[in-house]
């Protein structure tokens, strides 16, 4: 059997998969980066790996989508489109795969239909296989993506998100498969999306078999995570029962929460009589050897807690969220409370909120709620805006059962029934005026944006603009290896750094001495291509002074609120200002929306009155206790 090559028609690909005498492998490099390295594996490393990954003969390389599009521009300072273009140059045969969150695209909340379609159209120019899911398995949430992918002549790979529990039966999932095929037709690949790595090998085997019984011609792609250390068992069971494609990645980079090592999968299945189609084992090994050296530079982004987590079967956090959750716990200083949160509160919240699938953005809602329940004292006492939306059914209907009434009451208030009646159900999201957005982006960056820039801006308005400005100032920084881009601490004086820039020019930079002048300004001397350059940095503000002035207790913030002085309840970004100066507001009315840890929370006025001052603007990053707005009692 030969490998599948980029450029084949979807029907041809599906046909080859149906006739496959063995199984194919997708290299889920993106998921590995997201799950085990907080999404920080740089394009530089992927470019190093590209030639041998190309020769390795994978079904596809999953290299974009999920949180990576956002992290690309936010923390890796690389254009997600340029990334695909550069990888394509080095990997002409390998199909590229993405992970798309349906209406939520690569973000955390629903986008308007025209934004979804525009985004898919632009990415479909580079992406061949579209794995699309919805955390509620609510198929209408994926429809626009299905349609645009089909129109672009690319391959649809709809997911059924998988979890465990009494409701998660074969019958339920087989029915979901039927619902999907009713919408997409037969020329698709079905993905069993086991983002938590849940269930035993036997459970996965059964499920694959059950689907195959009803849909023998449907190619199944099993996606799992190795969080409990047993994904190879589940992969083997899936292949034995008829799955055509499985996910794994390069062994030298594998960690605890992402994909298992591909070579181990190949070796295991070989003895069981299953051949990895198109795979060149030497090239698989070579890839690992080439990038092994790079791993040391990503150490800061590896998990805070080492070791597999078989308890994932209890807390069900998806592999892709393990890293960020642990990071948040470490930064928030509650790493010690993790056993309680993970093993007691999270399963409890999960059950209380309907036992839906713990995957983005649903997993963030569960996690934030569980953390708040443990940290905040009173359970459901400080609900996030997204939990509110979940209960209001904004993401779609609960798949099995609704939460109990007391939770609605806690989150929506005493008159929750009225609120639910009035605001409940999915919103029809109005299309955005793309021409208007294009103009406003061109004003922000000072030139006409490309379609690709507009796509990024529509996804993440502030972060995209910051990225465009970054690139203008610092150039195309993907050329810097992690040993430079992610360097921790100062370089030694005399260190020589060399790299080839985006335009093919080679450069040598030698680190010279640094000096602080009497004004506190630091001068860094570099030898850039054998010419001395000086870079000056203003003295950094004394953090202590500002911080001291800022600290307000929760009680103080509440007291101020009762006087109309609205302060930030936590550290975050202002993502919306809902009122204007001079506007009348009612008690409980939203004045702004804040975002922190990907969750949006409304900031409301505690009193009725007139907004006299607004002290923030959209995009501001503010500290707890910072002034947001002032409301004067209307007398």
């Amino acid at each position: 059997m030969e490998r599948i090559i980029q450029g084949m028609a979807p029907s041809e690909v599906v046909d080859k998969l149906r006739k496959a005498d063995g199984y194919y492998i997708t290299n889920t490099a993106r998921d590995l980066s997201q799950s085990d390295f907080k999404n920080r594996i740089l394009l530089h490393t992927d470019l190093l790996a590209a030639p041998s990954r190309e020769r390795a003969g994978y079904f596809s390389l999953e290299i974009t989508g999920g949180a990576s599009v956002h992290v690309d521009i936010l923390r890796k300072q690389v254009d997600p489109f340029l990334k695909l273009e550069l990888l394509r140059e080095k990997m002409p045969k390998t199909m590229f795969q993405t992970l798309c969150r349906g209406v939520n695209l690569f973000g955390y909340r629903p986008y308007p239909q025209n934004v979804i379609r525009f985004t898919v159209r632009e990415f479909a120019k580079y992406v061949d296989v579209w794995r699309t899911f919805d955390f509620m398995n609510h198929i209408p949430n994926m429809q626009a993506v299905f349609e645009e992918v089909a129109k672009a002549g690319k391959i649809n790979e709809p997911c059924i998100c998988f979890s465990t529990g009494p409701e998660h039966t074969d019958d339920f999932y087989v029915k979901k498969v039927k619902d999907i095929i009713d919408v997409t037709g037969n020329d698709i690949i079905l993905c069993i999306k086991n983002h938590g790595g849940l269930g035993s090998p036997q459970r996965i085997g059964q499920l694959v078999d059950a689907i195959k019984q009803d849909y023998p011609e449907l190619p199944i792609h099993y996606h799992g995570h190795n969080t409990d250390g047993n994904d190879i068992g589940r992969i083997a069971a899936a292949v034995i029962n008829g799955a055509s494609i499985i996910d794994a990645s390069d062994s030298s980079m594998t960690g605890y929460y992402g994909p298992p090592p591909s070579l181990t999968v190949i070796q295991t299945l070989k003895e069981l009589g299953y051949n990895a189609i198109g795979i060149n084992e030497d090239a698989v090994i070579e890839t690992s050897e080439i990038i092994r050296d790079q791993r040391q530079y990503y150490a800061a982004f590896e998990s805070q807690i080492k070791g597999f987590q078989p308890t994932v079967q209890i807390h069900k956090l998806p592999g892709g969220a393990m890293g960020s959750s642990l990071e948040q716990a470490a930064k928030g200083g509650f790493l010690d409370k993790m056993p309680d949160i993970l093993h007691k509160e999270l399963p409890r919240v999960q059950k209380e909120l309907g036992n839906y699938w713990s995957v983005t953005p649903g997993s963030q809602i569960l996690w934030t709620t569980a953390v708040a329940n443990v940290q905040g004292g009173e359970r459901y006492g400080t609900p996030s805006g997204d939990l509110r939306n979940l209960l209001l059914g904004k993401y779609g209907p609960f798949p099995f059962y609704q939460p109990e009434e007391w939770i609605y009451e806690k989150v929506l208030g005493a008159d929750w029934k009225k609120v639910l009646e009035k605001e409940g159900g999915m919103d029809e999201i109005a299309d955005m005026d793309l021409d208007h957005e294009r103009v406003s982006l061109s004003e922000k960056i000072g030139h006409e944006p490309t379609d690709q820039q507009l796509v990024l801006y529509l996804q993440h308005p502030n972060d995209a603009v910051n990225f465009f400005k970054f690139e203008e100032k610092f150039g195309k920084v993907y050329v810097l290896p992690p040993s430079i881009f992610l360097h921790q601490g100062k370089f030694n004086v005399g260190t020589t750094l060399s790299f080839t820039d985006h335009y093919g020019k080679e450069h040598v930079i030698e680190i010279g001495p640094s000096m602080v002048n009497e004004g506190g300004e630091s001068n860094v001397y570099l030898n850039v291509d054998h010419h001395q350059r000086i870079y000056s940095f203003a003295p950094e503000a004394k953090a202590g002074v500002a911080a001291a002035a800022m600290v307000l207790s929760k009680e103080e913030i509440l007291t101020l609120a009762k006087n109309g002085d609205i302060r930030a309840p936590f550290a975050g970004n202002i993502c919306e200002i809902s009122v204007k100066e001079g506007q009348e507001v009612a008690a409980g009315e939203q004045v702004a929306m804040m975002e922190a840890m990907k969750m949006q929370t409304p900031v409301v006025s505690a009193i009725a009155g007139i907004v006299t001052t607004i002290s923030v603007k959209v995009g501001d990053a503010i500290k707890p206790g910072a002034k947001i707005a002032k409301v004067d009692i209307d007398e």
Binding site: L480, H487, I511, L526
Partner: protein, 480 residues
């Protein structure tokens, strides 16, 4: 004691002149204003005299410059171009102070600087000229004279300030109505700029070639020419690229133009180096435009094809020598192109980039390449002077060879900090019309594609900024 010569100028031309002074084994004295305190022309001179805080007013201050010359013991002053170069009062002040003014006499400067007197001298000598008027009478009479002229020759017509020059004090008139409106405006502007509200008219020659002849004359009346230059490639009447000799194929015509230039110089009793400018229309009829009584920016191209050092010759003639070569000694060899590398953004209507620091400067070299500049790495371009950084002058045996050499040199430049005219010139040297030698003053207007280029990004510059920041902070703040 070595002879001292003061250079009453700044920037590249000051350095150019100082080099000639030093080659004659004299000492060069610089002058400067405060914004020029880091200028390289100060360091090139043997001594420098501070004139004042400026900007510009001290370089233009005749008393201060004369005082500086006396104080430093300079016997002569070279005015360069711009500033006091064509100011007859300055030449006269030098004459009165017993200092040699390197250039023609104040009388010649005065006559040729007055467009109307100049036209009369040329008309008397039978030099072909664009139809024009004497100074218009004041008030309604003048307007009537203008309208009569327009009736005879038709629009468009140039309304010019008699004392203007260098592209200043010129407006294009296309209708009677506009004529009526613009004459008083032009008068008041000329009054403000040149302290003389005289204006006159000239028929417009549409899309001419701008061809000029370098002439040089000694006090004994020997006047010779050093061939032609084509300065057609201009923006807003300011030259950008100059070529020697003119690319007009008709050698007889060029020779006739050169003879006419010599005649014009003689008619005005010209001494020292000067330039006679002509317009050539589409039928290859040529018209006298003006005589510039100074060393031109573009004198370098003539030096390259003749081998004659014009500035050195200027100094020797001013110090009383006669010409040491004859017209027959002057042989034109090959082609030369000069490009003015300006700190300007051609894509923003040549907006000057003053105030920016040149953080990286690497220049080309090699066979047939000459650089006249004053910019250096770390230099901050003052906002108060012109935007010329360096003149690239290239010599080659054939036109093709010369154009490719220019292209190679433009590629070899590496300037970071200000935007420059280099990427724009890169487009010009690859333009088929330019490569054929086919251009006139409408070249930029008829070739808008020249403005389409992407600034060659200096990635090392940008990336090292990030590396400096990572090093300074001990982490990458953009990757947190």
């Amino acid at each position: 004691m070595k002879k001292k010569i003061l250079v009453a100028n700044r920037g590249e031309i000051a350095i150019r002149i100082m080099r000639a002074i030093q080659e004659l084994d004299y000492e060069a004295v610089a002058v400067y204003e405060t914004p020029d305190k880091d200028s390289r022309h100060i360091r090139t001179a043997s001594e420098a005299v501070f004139l004042g805080d400026g900007p510009r007013c001290d370089y233009l201050n005749i008393d201060k410059v004369i005082k500086a010359a006396k104080h430093s013991g300079a016997c002569a002053i070279h005015p360069g171009y711009g500033f006091l170069a064509e100011n007859p009062d300055f030449a006269k002040a030098c004459e009165e102070a017993g200092i040699i003014f390197i250039g023609p006499s104040s009388e010649v400067i005065s006559n040729l600087g007055n467009k109307v007197i100049a036209r009369k001298i040329m008309a008397d000598a039978g030099i072909p000229m664009v139809p024009g008027t004497p100074n218009l009478s004041m008030g309604e009479d003048g307007v009537q004279e203008a309208l009569t002229f327009a009736g005879k020759y038709g629009y468009p017509i140039m309304l010019k300030a008699t004392c203007g020059g260098g592209g200043r004090g010129i407006r294009l008139i296309e209708s009677d109505e506009q004529m009526r409106k613009e004459i008083p405006v032009a008068r008041s502007e000329a009054k403000a700029a040149f302290n003389d509200d005289s204006v006159y008219l000239e028929k417009v020659v549409l899309n001419p070639k701008h061809v000029e002849v370098q002439i040089i004359a000694d006090k004994e009346g020997t006047t010779i020419h050093l061939g032609t230059r084509d300065c057609s490639i201009q923006r807003r009447n300011q030259k950008l690229i100059e070529i020697a000799p003119s690319m007009i194929g008709d050698k007889e015509l060029l020779d006739k133009i050169c003879q006419t230039a010599v005649k014009a110089a003689k008619a005005s009793n010209y001494t020292n180096a000067g330039t006679v400018e002509f317009l050539i229309d589409k039928d290859y009829k040529y018209y006298f435009m003006e005589i510039n009584t100074r060393v031109q920016v573009e004198h370098t191209v003539t030096e390259m094809i003749t081998g004659i050092d014009i500035v050195r010759t200027q100094i020797k003639l001013a110090l009383g020598k006669t010409l040491s070569f004859t017209q027959d000694d002057v042989q034109l060899r090959g082609h030369a192109i000069e490009m003015r590398i300006n700190a300007e953004d051609p894509q923003a209507d040549f907006m000057p980039e003053g105030g920016k620091t040149v953080s990286l400067y690497r220049s080309p070299g090699g066979y047939g390449v000459r650089l006249d500049g004053f910019v250096y790495q770390g230099y901050t371009i003052p906002q108060v002077y012109d935007s010329l950084l360096v003149k690239l002058t290239v010599h080659g045996f054939t036109w093709n060879e010369t154009v490719s050499r220019v292209r190679r040199c433009l590629q070899n430049f590496d300037i970071a900090g200000p935007k420059t005219t280099i990427p724009f010139y890169m487009n010009i040297v690859q333009d088929p019309d330019f490569m054929r030698g086919d251009f006139n003053t409408s070249f930029l207007d008829t070739h808008p594609q020249l403005f389409e280029y992407k600034e060659a990004p200096n990635e090392a510059e940008k990336l090292s900024k990030l590396i400096a920041e990572i090093h300074h902070r001990g982490l990458n703040p953009y990757a947190l």
